[in-house]
Structure formats: structure tokens, C-alpha cells
């Protein structure tokens, strides 16, 4: 099987989020960047598991600048065979999807994996855009995935339950919790990763479709009002008068 896993770089979950005075950029000092968790734990690992079962290759793809190569190397250390970085600072989700689609369209991948969303923009846009550009099925928020011959069976999260179906390869799959178990790179993986190929290619031109107007910090949270455990009637009063749920 020929598998492509798209990985992106995001601030660590525990990072304090603040913006420069123009409100257009994240303040990066003190922020550590990681591989987007859903890309790493679920998309990449499921890709590697399928290769272990069926043979073939797992390529990882990152659209971003040279500063992200640590993250790309980590994906190789976890078990990807080769990496491609498209040397560009993408302008929007359409740009990212256009770059990946341009690369993928002549490569006959069986599956293109992504995480369900990135934990910075939380857009969940690139996977569906990519599937639309490549004109192949999109499996969104996938929690289970198996392949038999040319047929893929999948289970996806939907509101209040799940849905299962079959479709033909190739497909784009966005990975949610349940699809695989996180793998931690070991020493051998880290050493091997240094020797694996990392190709850098130039971006194609993409029309920007959406622009960021500004980031906005949230209003400061007012301090919690504590209610004594033996004063439950006050809580009932709040539920009635203020929150209006009873």
C-alpha cells in the first residue's frame, strides 16, 4: 500500500496563548511546538500499521518552513519511510490543501491520512478540501478503518453515535481517537530517522481564499463564586434565576 500522512505543526496543548500587538501573530516565545496530536497518534500510526500488514510505504508530508523539520524527523522516527516538505508558509487551508493535492495527484496513493483537525486553528478543513480537489471519497472523523483488497471499511463518529460503511480506495481519511494507539519513538527509530530521505520541494501558486482579520484574546474570566455545600438552595436559586434551566 502506498500511504501519505499529512502532518502539521501546532503549539503544545499546555501553551499559554497570547498575541503580538498587531493581533495577527501568535507570540512564539516560550511556546513549544509539537506535531499536531491527531496527526501523530492516530493518522500516522494507523498508516504505519497498514504498511506493517500489507507492505508498501508511508510517506509523511508537511507544508511549512525549515523550522518544522524536527517534527518531520519525529514522524520518521515513529516509523514513516520518507518525508516531503513543501517549503512554504501557507496562507490558508485552501493553500495547504492545494499544495498537498498538487503533490499527491500523480503519486497514486491508496490512502491519504490527516488528523481530524489541528489544535491551533481547529478548522477541520484541509481533509475535506483535499478530497474535493483529488475527487476521491472523504472519511471524516474516522475511528476504525480496515482494508480488504481494494475496499475500505470505516466507522466514523457522528452526533450521538456512529456510522459504518464501505467504499473503494483511494480515499482521504481524517483520523479521530480510536483509530490507533499512540507510539513513542525509540532509540533505534530516532537513529534510523536520520538516514531516511527528507525531500524539500517548492510550492505551487495557490489562490488565497480566506484571510485572518485578527486574533482576539478571550475576556478575562471573572472569579468563581463559591457556594457552601450546605447552602444548596443558593445553587437552586442560581439555576432558576440566573441560568434559567429550572
Amino acid at each position: 500500500m502506498k500511504i501519505l500522512v499529512c502532518i502539521s505543526k501546532t503549539p503544545d496543548t499546555t501553551s499559554k496563548i497570547a498575541f503580538d500587538s498587531d493581533n495577527m501573530h501568535l507570540k512564539e516565545e516560550g511556546v513549544s511546538f509539537i506535531m499536531n496530536p491527531y496527526d501523530e497518534w492516530y493518522a500516522l500510526v494507523r498508516g504505519i500499521e497498514l504498511r506493517e500488514k500489507f507492505g508498501g510505504t508511508v510517506s509523511v508530508m508537511h507544508v511549512g518552513e525549515a523550522s518544522s523539520e524536527v517534527i518531520v524527523r519525529k514522524a520518521l522516527a515513529i516509523g514513516a519511510d520518507q518525508a516531503i516538505r513543501i517549503d512554504s508558509k501557507p496562507k490558508d487551508s485552501n493553500d495547504v490543501a492545494t499544495q498537498i493535492a498538487h503533490y499527491a495527484q500523480n503519486q497514486s496513493f491508496d490512502i491519504v491520512f490527516l488528523g481530524k483537525e489541528t489544535i491551533d486553528h481547529n478548522g477541520s478543513e484541509v481533509g475535506a478540501l483535499l478530497a474535493g480537489m483529488l475527487a476521491i471519497p472523504f472519511i471524516s472523523y474516522c475511528t476504525k478503518l480496515d482494508v480488504e483488497g481494494n475496499e475500505l471499511s470505516a466507522t466514523c463518529e457522528i452526533e450521538g453515535g456512529e456510522v459504518s460503511f464501505k467504499t473503494q480506495l483511494p480515499a482521504v481519511v481524517s483520523a479521530a481517537k480510536g483509530l490507533a494507539e499512540q507510539r513513542i519513538p525509540n532509540m533505534k527509530g530516532i537513529m534510523d530517522a536520520k538516514k531516511k530521505p527528507l525531500e524539500v520541494i517548492s510550492p505551487v501558486s495557490a489562490n488565497q481564499k480566506v484571510k485572518l482579520v485578527r486574533f482576539e484574546a478571550l475576556p478575562p474570566k471573572t472569579a468563581v463564586k463559591l457556594i457552601a455545600p450546605d447552602d444548596i438552595d443558593s445553587l437552586v436559586k442560581i439555576l432558576h434565576e440566573e441560568v434559567k434551566v429550572i
Binding site: 496543548t13 489544535i119 486553528h121 481547529n122 471519497p137 482579520v213 457556594i227 445553587l235 429550572i246
Partner: protein, 317 residues
């Protein structure tokens, strides 16, 4: 023209679709354009979409369509009706098809919108960095795909009109997905649409203690949720797991019981309008995110609360 895709479940329009329609109507009113509602079910009511401001309801009664057919249908209507904006609920369907439609029609997409501003160009707000900030975006052109985060935009049934019904009869491509098996929890409001959510964490100690959580949820007409370790240990089903790896929700009220409030949990719930926390540890991080808190043993506090609410309801009805 601006058009909203209307999802119908069990013969009823989903609330998240009416929220999307309400946002579309607000935009239509400011821009002086026509507002369409698009549905593939004849159960979509012209009265209901009309009361939310739709001028016209376009129906193609084709039963359940798969994703590829739905995309095909919406893209064909986009051209036929010269639509400029397609508005979807950011539901599981919306997330799956939004980007594909945008790619096929070469439009921009702004997903998970939770507010908008009638500037020129229009601006749309989305929660970013796992709920730690917001961002505003604009389209480069005066057209695009918008998906609306459930529970962010109030449904405004304020128009006294019935939408005019037109039937569409588009020739659709064959399905790409087959042997669909849907398993839904019957009769319950999906978590993303619930206005009140009562949630339990590891502090409940054992799944057999969930009775009091369910009782509280019943009293408040709420959905139930849980933290990740609770779902991972199989105490509760996975579709109740909220947080960064689970579902992100925006209810009016979130009640967290025996949950520490770890950052990964908060990532899924910190956009709730009001948060009430019951935890015996005064240092639990959840108290920093909460509006109201009770520092106490949940095994004493929750039964007392249930009793007090029951009593209150009896006295007031």
C-alpha cells in the same frame, strides 16, 4: 443568494440547521439578498424555515443521500440558483462535505463559525487554540462556504411567513459509500446540540454511581457527558467523552462533577456559557474556569442538589 442546507433527522429539522439558517438570514437581511433553504427531505417544513427567515424552500425528495450525492446536489443547485454563500451546520455532515463543496466550486471555506460582523468584507469568528482564543476571518471574494458551530447562533423564529416551496429534480451521481450502518442513541439530544450538559469524571469512582448524574440530567432536561478516563475505562460510552480528543461542546450550562478540569478536558468545554463545578479539591483547576463552584464531596452534594431541585420544581408547578 445565500443558501442553507437543512438536515432532517427523524422527520424533524435539526436545531443546528436552524442556527445555520438564522445566521444566513441575518447576512441576507444586511446584504439585501434572497435566503434559500435546501433540503433532501420532504419533512422539512416550509413553516419552520419560513419562520427563521427563508424565502424559498427547495426540496428534492430523494431519501437519504450519501456524501458524494449530497455534494453533487448542492454544487448543482449552487450553479442553478446563482448562490454566493452556502451555509452549513458544523455537524458531522457539515464537516465532511463543507471542504469538498468548497474545493469543487473553488470557494473559500470558514468553518466552525460562532459569530459574525457585518463589516465590508463580512467577518466571521471562530474559536481557536482549543478554546483559548478567538479569531476573525474574511473571504477574499464575496462568496464562500460557511459552517456554523452548534449552539453558537440563537435560532430566531421571528418571521411570520411560510417559505415558498420549489421542487428540484437534479440528476445525481451514484453513491460512493455503501452498506451504511448507523447506530444512534435513540431519543436523546446529541451532545453538541444540548443546551444543558451534566458531566461526570473519575471522582464518581464507579459506573454504578452514575444514577445520580442521570437523575440530575433528567431534572434539568440535560444531556450527559464524561471525561476521557471515564470513557476509556468503559464506564460510559465513547460518544459522551468531551474534551480535546473527544467532542467540543458549547452548551448554555455545563455542570462538571468530580472532574479535575485538566487542560485537555477544558479544551472541549471552556466555551460553555456558564460552568458549575462540584469537586472536593479546592485546588482543582476547574474552579479557575468555573462561574460557580461547590467545594464538597459529590456523594453528598449531588443527591442533596437533586432533592432540592425536585422540591423546587414541585413548588413552582
Amino acid at each position: 443568494m445565500i443558501a442553507t442546507y437543512i438536515e432532517v433527522i427523524d422527520g424533524k429539522i435539526k436545531k443546528s440547521s436552524l442556527e445555520a439558517l438564522s445566521l444566513a438570514k441575518d447576512i441576507a437581511a444586511v446584504k439585501g439578498i434572497k435566503c434559500l433553504a435546501l433540503s433532501t427531505s420532504k419533512s422539512a417544513s416550509a413553516e419552520v424555515v419560513g419562520s427563521c427567515g427563508a424565502d424559498e424552500l427547495i426540496v428534492q425528495d430523494s431519501g437519504e443521500l450519501d456524501q458524494s450525492q449530497l455534494i453533487d446536489w448542492l454544487c448543482k443547485l449552487y450553479s442553478a440558483y446563482q448562490i454566493s454563500y452556502i451555509v452549513l451546520a458544523n455537524s458531522s455532515i457539515g464537516k465532511a462535505i463543507g471542504g469538498q463543496i468548497a474545493a469543487k466550486l473553488q470557494l473559500g471555506i470558514i468553518s466552525g463559525v460562532n459569530g459574525w460582523a457585518a463589516a465590508s468584507p463580512m467577518q466571521f469568528r471562530r474559536s481557536v487554540f482549543s478554546g483559548k482564543a478567538n479569531a476573525w476571518y474574511s473571504f477574499m471574494e464575496d462568496k464562500g462556504v460557511i459552517s456554523v458551530m452548534p449552539n453558537s447562533i440563537p435560532v430566531k423564529k421571528t418571521y411570520s411567513k411560510v417559505a415558498e416551496i420549489s421542487e428540484s429534480n437534479v440528476n445525481l451521481s451514484g453513491p460512493v459509500f455503501n452498506s451504511v450502518n448507523k447506530e444512534l442513541v435513540k431519543g436523546k439530544t446529541p451532545l453538541t446540540e444540548a443546551e444543558v450538559v451534566v458531566s461526570g469524571g473519575r471522582g464518581l469512582k464507579d459506573p454504578s454511581n452514575w444514577g445520580m448524574i442521570e437523575e440530575l440530567a433528567d431534572l434539568l432536561n440535560a444531556a450527559t457527558a464524561c471525561s476521557r478516563p471515564v470513557a476509556d475505562s468503559g464506564w460510559r460510552p465513547h460518544h459522551e467523552h468531551v474534551g480535546q480528543t473527544g467532542i467540543a461542546i458549547r452548551p448554555n450550562l455545563y455542570i462538571a462533577i468530580g472532574i479535575s478540569g485538566a487542560i485537555q478536558h477544558l479544551a472541549g468545554v471552556n466555551n460553555s456559557r456558564k460552568i458549575i463545578v462540584i469537586n472536593k479539591d479546592p485546588e482543582a483547576p476547574f474552579f479557575k474556569a468555573a462561574d460557580y463552584g461547590v467545594v464538597g464531596d459529590l456523594f453528598e452534594v449531588v443527591p442533596k442538589l437533586n432533592e432540592a431541585i425536585s422540591k423546587f420544581k414541585e413548588e413552582h408547578h
